[in-house]
């Protein structure tokens, strides 16, 4: 129970605790829905659950970031998302324009108020 990577090596560790615990959910999804119709009410509900989870992942990536992004204040991160979204709406719903403006806002904000 207290085994670490040093004992089994990085490749076996990748398979056992990276690949398998991740892939199990995909396999379960495949096994559970065999034969279901795409318009069935169960599938509409499952899609809503998946969409809500995706939205939550996104919120987590912005609010509790890890790595290099964590060094940038959360206010700057949220503000950059807001700026990007505003540009997206104003500039004819262009994802490219929105991402570009958001990135510029993040870098500008981090330079002004960052560590």
């Amino acid at each position: 129970m207290t085994a670490t990577m040093a004992e089994i090596g990085p490749y076996l560790a990748l398979i056992l605790v990276g690949f398998l615990p991740n892939e199990v959910w995909r396999v379960l999804g495949l096994v559970l829905v065999r034969g279901l119709d795409e318009d069935s009410q169960l599938v509409v509900w499952v899609r809503a659950v998946a969409t809500a989870m995706l939205a939550a992942v996104l919120a987590q990536l912005v609010l509790s970031s890890s790595g290099a992004l964590a060094a940038i204040p959360v206010v700057v991160r949220v503000g950059a998302i807001g700026a990007g979204l505003l540009a997206f709406v104003v500039l004819r719903r262009s994802v490219f324009a929105g991402v570009l403006v958001g990135e510029i806002a993040l870098l500008a904000g981090a330079t002004l108020w960052g560590p």
Binding site: N22, W25, V33, D37, R47, V49, V57, L61, A68, G98
Partner: protein
């Protein structure tokens, strides 16, 4: 596309999907985001072959960040638990996708590759584009889309590994920021039905609230609560109109 579907060569769905991947904003977003993850694996002392395998086998950015940043410091069982909890979303994603791909006579093994290729980016683009693809070409199309996007990520994770030493921290942060931002905007753009829009909006709000309670399994609870609430609104509206 001027030719009709009956005249098209087998496998043309795959190449259409590959082309769709190249045109997708996610192709470029993944290039950026995965260079950031590649740089992270350099910082934690893994080798580039390991990093490429990590992307090909796991193909889920949150789980990969967990594996890379914790494998050297905590026990294996803790890493496995964290990865398991971070990847619950793949179940409903695969479950919502497959009914769009399968038709009568589709064999289980034809669905194994689409299943493995399903990640947030591929799924979001697939759900947007598949309704416009003839049903018998959808598996090939989705495989092309997935292989295209996974290739971008794999390439970038190797490049990021080599760039890592030269990447200023602010630039690295900018790369990691690409994914949440482009996900947000493409989700807003792709939302066509009330139930999906509501589920997305509720998920953004409910997610952080539940995460702050620190009860564990917060993604699963968010999905069940926000998704079911959105579905309930949809049912009530359908019943009253």
């Amino acid at each position: 596309m001027s030719e009709t579907s009956s005249q098209r060569a087998p496998g043309s769905g795959f190449f259409d999907g590959l082309r769709a991947a190249l045109k997708s904003i996610f192709f470029y977003v993944l290039l950026g985001h995965y260079s950031g993850i590649g740089a992270l694996s350099y910082e934690f002392g893994f080798d580039p072959v390991w990093m490429v395998l990590c992307t090909l086998l796991i193909w889920a950015a949150p789980a990969q960040v967990i594996v890379i940043s914790t494998l050297g410091t905590v026990t294996l069982i803790e890493v496995a638990v964290a990865v398991t909890l971070s990847s619950v979303r793949l179940l409903p994603m695969v479950a919502a996708l497959l009914p769009m791909l399968q038709r009568e006579g589709t064999r289980q093994r034809e669905l194994v590759l689409p299943m493995h290729l399903t990640a947030i980016s591929v799924w979001a683009e697939g759900m947007r584009l598949l309704p416009g693809v003839p049903k018998h070409e959808r598996i090939g199309y989705y495989n092309g889309l997935g292989v295209g996007l996974l290739s971008a990520a794999t390439l970038a994770s190797a490049v990021g590994f080599y760039l890592a030493a030269r990447l200023p921290p602010l630039f690295a942060a900018g790369l990691l920021f690409l994914t949440p931002m482009s996900l947000l905007m493409s989700s807003v753009r792709n939302t066509r039905t009330l139930v999906d829009g509501l589920a997305f909006g509720l998920g953004v709000v409910v997610g952080p609230v539940i995460a702050a309670q620190k009860i564990g399994l917060d993604l699963m609870w968010t999905g069940l609560i926000a998704g079911t609430a959105a579905y309930a609104v949809h049912r009530i509206r359908e019943a009253t109109t």
